[in-house]
Point group: C2
Chain length 339, copies 2
DNA sequence: CTGTTAGCGCTTTCAC
DNA sequence: GTGAAAGCGCTAACAG
């Protein structure tokens, strides 16, 4: 017992006493030579029968599904959610649907999803690459399937990519810290395995900025550690004499661990250690003290990604793919103290 | 220029020197009487041609799309995101796709999405009802389309519904507060317009629990206010002599406002006012002090919703719909002080 | 065990 | 202006 209501275009045609093709014309708004009366009759029949077109059949014929696939690597990041949200809004305006898949950073899963979505004939992809799937992406390209990357750069692939200016984000933090008189600054960052553009760029941005302030020698502390071990690791490191007065959390998940570390060490934020976070979290602004944060421009990124994808879907693409970087936003709050 | 690679089942058949239907059998794993050699040849041809089946055509024929629609009222709640996540996981195990739509509590939008998804022939719906669309739901029911509600009850509709035991959540908070010696307790809740099951149940649960402690007369404070005005409203109310010593935030978004209020009034959580939140937020556990929270069982709810939907999709449903409530989880932390 | 034959519901020339 | 007919890629009887 499934969807029984099978009113097809044929039923409408019969009811209206005309042919299927005319009804089809009507549905596709090809009114050019259609009699006013015909239109009228069709409209009535449709209403009377409660007809609604079967998009599947149309898609089969037109080879267009009005659906795109969106593949995110880690939906736990607030950033991903926000980008998804924006992309969906953009798509809804065009009556395009979005199927979202989460790969948990697993290239295998990513491959499976891409193939499933391809089989579903999606019209395009927006992907946060999990990495290590270059061949897969290349196939997509070969098949001429519209594709946009978000958040991470896959080297040597001619694909439009849109992401935060991560180096700038890190530099903003460093500059702010130094302006407040800090000369010993740490970076808490999860492990840098594989192509994790944001992480590695934030690290390099951090290093460059430190160099520009001539702090790279003895003032720079890099805490690279898995999230689950981060708090303990920081606790241990901060027992040492040689430690920073300011700490940059490289993303939202890291911030949680940094805050955890402060709690367990009973360190007062500001007095004992100044904090900045890349990524703004819902409670960061009302934290005690409010956490100075660098917000990724998720809306701009999502919009741009959608826009680029639409272009590829409509125009035949070949608009020479590029990397599009958007500046983060500095949210000055109270977690940095001047010394 | 679109997906060019159109290797069809016919190409495979030709290449393998057999007929389409045999290939189709193979694809559908109906191996019963199929010669080992035939299978072999098919396998090779598929690989050679890089064939991948067109799910659309299959769906058109089978009247099954292996896709479900999920419609959430407010994706800004962490709870929605978590439920989505769980449902997606459950679906992925069955190779079912999920299309997620966000209605922003707008019944109009909800209607539009339902219709779009219907046109796409989704196999079922999981809906967080925005409310006021009874007729729409009834149509779905009439058409025998599998449907499960989450988070909100739509009265008088025979639909499986799964949600948090909201009254219990509120009672948990009240009981804990009173155990800690609080006799004057407030509830901050957004406006109760329309059918917002969680809100109204949390309110009624709060009231009932207060009554059971004989606090409903002079110890109960209900702050019903829109989120944007909440912080200021609380600030004004707490100027009065007659105010509570403990405050329950009815959901995550409300907690943000409550915390905001504490900040702007420079009230120390615990000493000046004890706080509990329904919904656990990422930073709540590392807040200063950590915010005692009542977590909704999102995973259980998502799993159950998916399970119920699958049942309806497979068995012919008619399993006498019911309301399924799941108990929230009390996370004792440090934002409540004994008096 | 494999092939033939109809469609699924819609679009799209191309006649009339 | 409208209709007839072919077919999108696949599945599902039913023969053989």
């Amino acid at each position: 017992m499934k969807h029984d209501k099978n009113v097809t275009i044929a039923d409408v045609a019969k009811h209206a006493g005309i042919s299927k093709s005319t009804v089809s014309q009507y549905l596709n708004k090809r009114f050019e030579y259609m009699g006013e009366e015909t239109k009228q009759r069709i409209r009535q029949s449709i209403a009377a029968l409660g007809y609604s077109p079967n998009v599947l059949a149309r898609s089969l014929k037109q080879k267009k599904t009005f659906t795109i696939g969106m593949i995110v690597a880690n939906i736990l990041h607030g950033f991903s959610t926000q980008v998804i949200r924006t992309v969906e809004d953009a798509c809804n305006e065009q009556d395009i649907h979005v199927i979202v898949c989460n790969t948990d950073e697993d290239p295998q899963k990513e491959q499976k999803y891409v193939q499933m979505l391809e089989a579903k004939q999606v019209d395009g992809f927006i992907i946060f690459p999990a990495g290590d799937n270059e061949e897969l992406y290349r196939e997509l390209l070969d098949k001429n399937i519209p594709l946009v990357f978000v958040d991470r750069i896959v080297p040597d692939l001619p694909v439009n990519t849109v992401l935060t200016d991560n180096e700038k984000a890190a530099a903003m933090a460093v500059d702010y810290f130094t302006n407040c008189g800090h000369r010993r600054i740490g970076l808490a960052v999860p492990p840098l395995k594989r192509v994790m553009t944001p992480r590695s760029e934030r690290l390099s941005g951090f290093q460059k900025a430190m160099e520009s302030h001539e702090l790279e020698k003895s003032g720079m502390f890099i805490y690279e550690q898995s999230l689950s071990a981060m708090a303990d690791y920081l606790s241990a490191e901060f027992q040492k004499e040689d430690k920073p007065t300011a700490l940059l959390a490289s993303n939202d998940l890291t911030l949680i661990e940094v805050l955890q570390f402060c709690r367990q060490q009973e360190m007062e934020i500001g007095r004992d250690v100044s904090i900045i976070s890349i990524d703004d979290m819902p409670l960061a602004g009302v934290y005690n003290p409010a956490v100075t944060s660098i917000e990724q421009p998720a809306a701009a990124i999502g919009e741009k990604a959608a826009e680029l994808l639409f272009e590829e879907m409509n125009e035949g693409k070949e608009l020479s793919p590029a990397v599009h970087r958007y500046s983060p936003v500095f949210l000055e709050r109270d977690s940095v103290e001047t010394r």
